[in-house]
């Protein structure tokens, strides 16, 4: 039968955001895949070059709106590395707590998108309902639900609200009970297993070479987690497990994210207990020396986020490079797609947790 190029084009229910997956089909099986990105390109790095350092923080929120806290923190971390600022301890602990809460929120958003892709709107609504609790926590903390603008260069915007520990404790215990419901809706439903197992397999070797990072890499059996192996903030002092699976199929990536959500609860609890008193915000220097460079990489919920900045002598950066994990994972998408049916595409791309805001910058 003649092969047919099919445009699973920019406007398509399974693409979370604007990208075009051109797929060559032989009947129903995918013979070749060619992802096209760039529909959401805003020239973020050029924009950042004519803004003051603090003004780029709300811009960094809008890189990946699903996990805006981790991108803000990455930007602030990069500038702190460049200016060699030592962030006060309390700020480090608050940042770790808030990053992990954002990780759970981002994973729940991914679970919601995966649920709708596979056809069950119940999963969408249950996970978004749990995510609502974390959004409320963030709203109490910094006044916004999605784009927080909470990290500052040298600390955080404001101190934690009054009953911060009590709220977090209640939300976490409630969330962990509800996790069992979510898992039984997905894990123990054989219809879900039928669709997710043995689809979109990528071996550890291929994943490492193609630059796949984060839960997608750990799903293929490579135990690398930036929080563990190159710790930033206070991850070095907390003990948590890097969860990974060996099979490398969509189900393995799904399992890794579900375990990570539980690990994040564990991390938040430890961090809240050890949070010291003290200052939480430094007065950052106004200008950065010309030609001084600095970079940082963090464990974004989607992979390894990385930023590289060069100072310009005044209060603007000369160059700000952003590496988005999904930009690279999408380039590795053909390896996961070839050989599977077109009906598996939502399952495979759903398990990769795409966010197009950061891909196209």
């Amino acid at each position: 039968m003649a092969e047919m190029w099919l445009n699973m084009g920019p406007q398509h229910p399974f693409t979370h955001g604007l990208w075009n997956l051109r797929v060559k089909l032989d009947g129903e099986t995918i013979v070749d895949a060619d992802p096209i990105v760039g529909y959401l390109h805003r020239g973020w790095e050029k924009l950042a070059e004519n803004r003051m350092y603090p003004q780029i923080i709300p811009m960094a929120d809008r890189l990946c709106y699903g996990a805006s806290m981790s991108w803000e923190h990455l930007y602030c971390n990069t500038i702190e590395n460049m200016m060699e600022l030592e962030v006060p301890d309390r700020a480090k602990y608050i940042r770790t707590i808030v990053l992990e809460a954002q990780r759970i929120g981002s994973h729940l958003m991914w679970l919601a998108a995966l649920g709708t892709d596979l056809g069950s709107y119940t999963i969408f609504l249950y996970s978004v309902r749990e995510r609502e609790l974390f959004l409320d926590l963030m709203q109490n903390l910094c006044g916004a639900r999605m784009t927080y603008n909470y990290c500052r260069i040298g600390g955080v915007r404001n101190d934690v609200p009054a009953n911060f520990e009590r709220d977090f404790d209640r939300v976490l215990t409630h969330f962990l009970n509800r996790m069992n419901d979510l898992e039984s809706l997905m894990d123990r439903s054989s219809v879900f297993r039928l669709r997710m197992e043995d689809t979109g397999v990528i071996s550890g070797e291929q994943a490492r070479n193609l630059g796949v990072t984060g839960p997608n890499l750990r799903g293929s059996g490579v135990e690398y987690d930036v929080r563990k192996d190159d710790p930033y903030e206070v991850y070095g002092d907390l003990d948590f497990r890097t969860c990974f699976e060996k099979e490398g199929d969509s189900f393995a990536r799904y399992r890794v994210r579900m375990d990570e959500m539980r690990e994040s609860c564990n991390i938040i609890r430890q961090a809240i207990k050890r949070m010291p008193k003290g200052p939480y915000r430094l007065k950052p220097p106004r200008n950065a020396p010309k030609g001084k460079t600095g970079w940082a990489h963090v464990e974004d919920p989607r992979g390894e986020g990385f930023m590289y900045v060069i100072g310009n002598g005044d209060d603007h950066p000369y160059r700000l490079k952003v590496r988005s994990p999904i930009f690279v994972t999408v380039s590795a998408a053909p390896v996961m797609l070839i050989g599977y049916k077109i009906a598996d595409v939502p399952a495979i791309m759903g398990s990769v947790d795409m966010c197009l805001g950061e891909t196209d910058r």
Binding site: V37, G38, H41, G43, E45, K46, G204, Q206, R208, N209, L210, G211, V212, T213, S220, G221, V222, E223, Y224, D229, D230, T242, F244, K246, T293, W295, H297, E304, F306, Y308, I310, Y318, R319, K321, R323, F327, V328, V330, S331, A332, D360, R361
Partner: protein, 164 residues
């Protein structure tokens, strides 16, 4: 950081940043200059002609297995451009920042997407934004800007904010 437990799916590793910097300088004495080397960071500059050999050596001997980023930097006044590679080695937990300088009028460098597939789209994006051609790249095309753009937006002499 001591000898951490052997991790799943990764080699033994254990070479620290200083050791790696040392081996690099010994292997390529006149091409590689180390600016700084710490426990898990190496900062170095590499001459353009020797770049592909350095990259191949790092991949095979020093088991660097992941290209974090390939970024172009345009130094308009000094009439040169940097291509900054950040390559990570999972086993040794070391990230190397390698800067290669290119004269602004002859923007070509060997592509490493045959060594690491991850660098493929990074190089295409750097070409798309700065016009640096990566020789030997399987598909040297633009990636982010719409087709039909003939200018390179991230160069310092490209003034944004007007109808192009």
């Amino acid at each position: 950081m001591g000898k951490l437990a052997q991790r799943e799916g990764l080699g033994p590793g254990g070479k620290t940043g200083e050791v790696i910097a040392q081996t690099l300088v010994e292997k390529f004495p006149q091409d590689v200059k180390i600016t700084k080397a710490t426990q898990n960071r190496v900062f170095a500059t590499v001459n353009k002609p020797a770049w592909l050999n350095v990259a191949a050596f790092m991949k095979d001997a020093l088991d660097f297995d992941h290209v974090t980023a390939v970024s172009g930097v345009d130094w308009l006044e000094e009439k040169k451009m940097w291509v900054v590679y950040h390559i990570t080695s999972y086993a040794n937990r070391v990230t190397a920042e390698l800067i290669v300088e290119l004269p602004r009028d002859q923007l070509e460098i060997d592509s490493i997407s045959n060594l690491w597939g991850g660098a493929n789209w990074h190089e295409r994006e750097t070409y798309d934004m700065y016009g640096i051609v990566f020789l030997g790249h399987p598909r040297m095309e633009r990636i982010l800007t719409p087709d039909g753009t003939d200018y390179f937006p991230y160069r310092k002499d490209f003034v944004g904010g007007r109808r192009v």
